[in-house]
Each structure stands twice: as C-alpha cells, then as structure tokens.
C-alpha cells in the first residue's frame, strides 16, 4: 500500500467529498456538476473566441471579446477547486492512471493558450485595425485542438483507471 495515497484517501476532506462521513451523499454529485459547468464555460467560451480568430463571425470586434476572459478565469477557478477535491476523494484512481497525467498536461497547455490569446491577440491595442497574423490563428487552432483533447482525456478517466481506491480494483 502506498502510504501517501492512503493518507489522502483516509483524510477528513476525502471522506467528506465521497460522502463517507454520512449524510453528505450530495457533496460528490455537486462537485462533479460544478466541474462540468466550469468546463462548459471555460472550454466553450474559449472555443467561441478561437472560432472568431479563425475567421468565423468576423464582424465580432476582438477587443471587447476580451471582456469574456474574466468569466473564463472564474470557470478555471471553479474547476481547479472542484478538480482538486475530486482528486483528493479518489487519489489512487487518478494518480495510478497515465491518462490523468495527460489531462494535467493538456490543462497546462490550454490555460497557457487562453492567456496568450488574451495577451497577444485580444488585448493588442490595434487588434481590430489590422488583419490577424498567422501566429494568432495558430494559437486559436492549437487552443481548439487542446480543448478537444482535454475533454476527451477527462471523459476517458472514467474508463481507463484500474484502481478506484487502494485495494479496490475498478469495476471496468
């Protein structure tokens, strides 16, 4: 048994998220749902910005599109907290699954791309005065591909794990 995973798995916080403490069965479903709402706004909002940069809906001015960025960062915050809690609840399930590390890498990439697109494209002073350069389109295309890969990896976590908890193999 891995003592570190066991320590997380048996912590008060982990039991609270799993509803093991009794009477808190709603905690896990609420956290999973918040994680999905956050995904919808973060991945979806970023996708809308990417599509605009790639040339769809060209009548949308890019500068005010940047006003949606705080919403995306709020969604990221919701997903960082909810994701951390899901990890604490089932650390073995996540940390023994290679796909989990792929997902973490894709999160880093996707978040970096949102911040680059914000800084280099949306907040460029002359963004709506001149045509977008190839770099902007490359960032948007990479972002779009990143979200598809990230959501795919996230969904596959439910199918690719071998251990639900220490000593308990998964059903699949």
């Amino acid at each position: 048994m891995d003592p570190f995973l066991a320590w997380i798995e048996t912590s008060e916080l982990a039991m609270w998220v799993r509803g093991d403490s009794g009477g808190g069965e709603f905690v896990f479903p609420v956290i999973v749902t918040l994680h999905t709402i956050g995904m919808g706004f973060l991945a979806g909002g970023s996708t809308a910005i990417d599509l605009r940069i790639l040339g769809l809906a060209p009548s949308i001015p890019l500068k005010p599109m940047g006003r949606f960025l705080p919403l995306l960062w709020l969604a990221l915050a919701v997903n960082a907290v909810s994701g951390f809690l899901l990890l604490v609840a089932y650390p073995t399930k996540a940390l023994t699954n290679p796909v989990f590390y792929v997902k973490v890498g894709l999160i880093a990439l996707a978040v970096w791309l949102v911040s680059r697109i914000g800084a280099v494209v949306l907040r460029a002073p002359d963004v709506d005065q001149k045509p977008l350069d190839a770099n902007a389109k490359l960032l948007a295309a990479a972002s779009l591909a990143g979200w598809v890969a990230l959501i795919t990896a996230g969904r596959l976590l439910a199918y690719t794990h071998n251990w639900e908890m220490l000593g308990i193999p998964s059903l699949t």
Binding site: G40, G44, S46, L51, L56, P64, M65, F68, I151
Partner: protein, 167 residues
Amino acid sequence: MEMAAWEAFIRSTALHAFIRTYEPWLWPLCETLHYLGLSLLLGTVGLFDLRVLGLARGIPVAAIHRLIPWGIAGYAVNILTGIVFFFGHPDQYFYNNAFRLKVAFMALAGINVVVFYTSAFREVQDLGPGASAPVRAKIITGISLGSWVAVLICGRLLTFFRPPFFH
C-alpha cells in the same frame, strides 16, 4: 415488472443492437462528443446571452449572434448522441427523475428560443457597441442561460438517479 411496449420496441431495433454490440468504445465516444457539444452550446449561446445581459457590451448584438449556428451545431451533436444513449439503455433514462427534469428544461429552453425570436430579437438585433438591451430581452436571455445550465446539471446528475433495477 412487465416491460412497457415502447421499451420492448426500442430494444428490438437494429440501433439498439448496434449500440450494445459496440458499447465499450461507442459509449465513451458519444459521451465525449456530448461534452464537446455542450461546451460549444454554452460557449456560443451563453456568450450571446451574456452580451444581451450587459457583459462585453462593446460587441454589436448582430455580430455575436453570428455564433448561434455553432451553438445549434453543438445542440444537434447532443441530440444525436443523446439518441444513442437513450436507445442503448432506455430504462436508465425513462425511469429517472433527473432525465425527466432535463427534458422539461430542454422544453423550457426550446419554448424560450421561440419566444425570443418572435419578440425580443427585433429589439436587440440592431444594438451597436455599448448599447444596452431592453428589460424584456434581458429576461428572455436570462431564462435561456439559466435553462441551458439547468439542462447540464440534470444531465450530469442522471447517473446518481438511476432506477434501482438498472444494470
């Protein structure tokens, strides 16, 4: 419990047989597409609603409305993948209060779309940069945003409200 005629019919279809045969990879694939579809829907229709509600007012309403076809595409993906889910395991959904509530919110969102395009859309489609939408349009887009999020919530909670006999 006797199986209802509609359920027996669904289970007799070729689509049901196909889904159950290829379920190990088809189900995760459709789930992933369903998540991508919901993101596309929330990201486009959601941003449009937020603009009408007053966020990012620098965007003309007609311009951000150009994103709506992408939201419709996301919705279409989710209807198609939703049909796969329902035909694969009809009892899991039909005898599930979260699913019933989800369908009710989908109906509310759908009626709201009709109400929007037959009333408030005329008042907002010419709103330029900085212009604020009338209260009626804000109420309708607020209902839109709320009902799509409610559809998502009910969908995500489906698995926690599975009928006891399902497996």
